[in-house]
């Protein structure tokens, strides 16, 4: 099977999370890549017009989070990706959860901004995603996230 037939859904909220996903784009572009974000206007600026839009949310917004989880499930069911990855934040985590329901392989890459400890979603991803990676070597460990380099 060729690389371009592996369907991948890559998810990032606007701002720094999205910047990090864009730095990974040269590698992602080899696959059948689909993007989802909370700020589709920024994605359009980067030449990604057919991006899926997710409502923004965080742990302090229960109703927005429930809505976001539903939209995430919809996006995942629509694209049926084989692989789902996110560089953050909560909306990406919901896509990973939805991915578990359809048997996708899931990867959380914790933001390079989290140099002192893993984000809340990163900690949850250690249990709920197939893999959770930190971008800081000193945060990695046997029972903790794994480290395979950084976007910078």
């Amino acid at each position: 099977m060729g690389k371009d037939s592996i369907r991948v859904l890559a998810v990032a909220s606007g701002g720094g999370h999205w910047e990090q996903l864009m730095l990974l784009r040269p590698t992602l572009a080899q696959y059948d890549i689909r993007f989802a974000t909370t700020e589709p206007a920024v994605a359009a600026q980067h030449g990604i017009a057919d991006v899926e839009s997710l409502p923004d949310c965080n742990q302090n917004m229960p109703i927005a989070s429930a809505l976001c989880a539903l939209v995430a499930l919809w996006v995942v069911l629509k694209h049926r990706p084989k692989v789902i990855l996110s560089t953050g934040a909560a909306p990406g985590f919901f896509c990973i959860l939805a991915g578990r329901l359809i048997g996708a392989r899931t990867l959380w890459i914790d933001s390079v901004a989290n140099g002192e400890e893993l984000s809340m979603c990163g900690k949850l991803s250690k249990r709920f995603a197939h893999q959770c990676w930190t971008q800081w070597e000193h945060l990695a460990g046997p029972d903790r996230p794994r480290y395979f380099g950084a976007v910078l």
């Binding site: 910047e19 890459i109 380099g149 910078l152």
Partner: protein
């Protein structure tokens, strides 16, 4: 053109004032985004905030970015393939809640396209180094190469 930015959350007058003092000797326009600082620059164009689309356009024209050690700014510069010179905020001078920016520069120093000035006295030589950088943007750092390789392996379900 050199673009100076300190983010929107906190002022960073120590960097803005030092860049204002250096601006006349740099031989090119300097544009500064000053955030919540109070120092009024005399020698460079200064704006409290710059809208994202315009910031992106300015970034495209810039030869060098001079900034506080904010990860968001580092990532934007990396995506735009611009060299960036970082000066960390210091908690003991009331510039941030803690010294995480010192930790950030300690870890990022030496990666391609990233320069560090520990304080304002180091700005001038580091600016000269930053402007002299050429062709670095094609160089992906060893840590970035590692992450791209691991990501491809994960997607293709190969052993990591």
């Amino acid at each position: 053109m050199i673009i100076v930015t300190v983010g929107m959350q906190l002022g960073f007058d120590r960097l803005i004032a030092a860049m204002d003092a250096l601006a006349p000797s740099l031989g090119m326009p300097v544009i500064a985004q000053t955030g919540k600082g109070t120092y009024q620059p005399q020698n460079m164009e200064a704006r409290v905030k710059i809208a994202p689309a315009e910031f992106e356009a300015l970034m495209g024209e810039a030869r060098l970015v001079v900034a506080h050690a904010g990860i968001g700014t580092v990532l934007t510069a990396a995506r735009c393939a611009k060299p960036i010179l970082l000066m960390p905020r210091r908690a003991d001078l009331g510039e941030h809640r803690n010294d995480h920016q010192l930790a950030t520069v300690g870890k990022l120093a030496g990666r391609p396209g990233i320069l560090v000035a520990a304080d304002e006295s180091e700005l001038e030589p580091r600016i000269a180094e930053g402007l002299a950088l050429t062709d670095w943007s094609a160089t992906r750092s060893p840590t970035a190469q590692q992450l791209h390789a691991a990501l491809a392996a994960f997607i293709e379900n190969r052993p990591l």
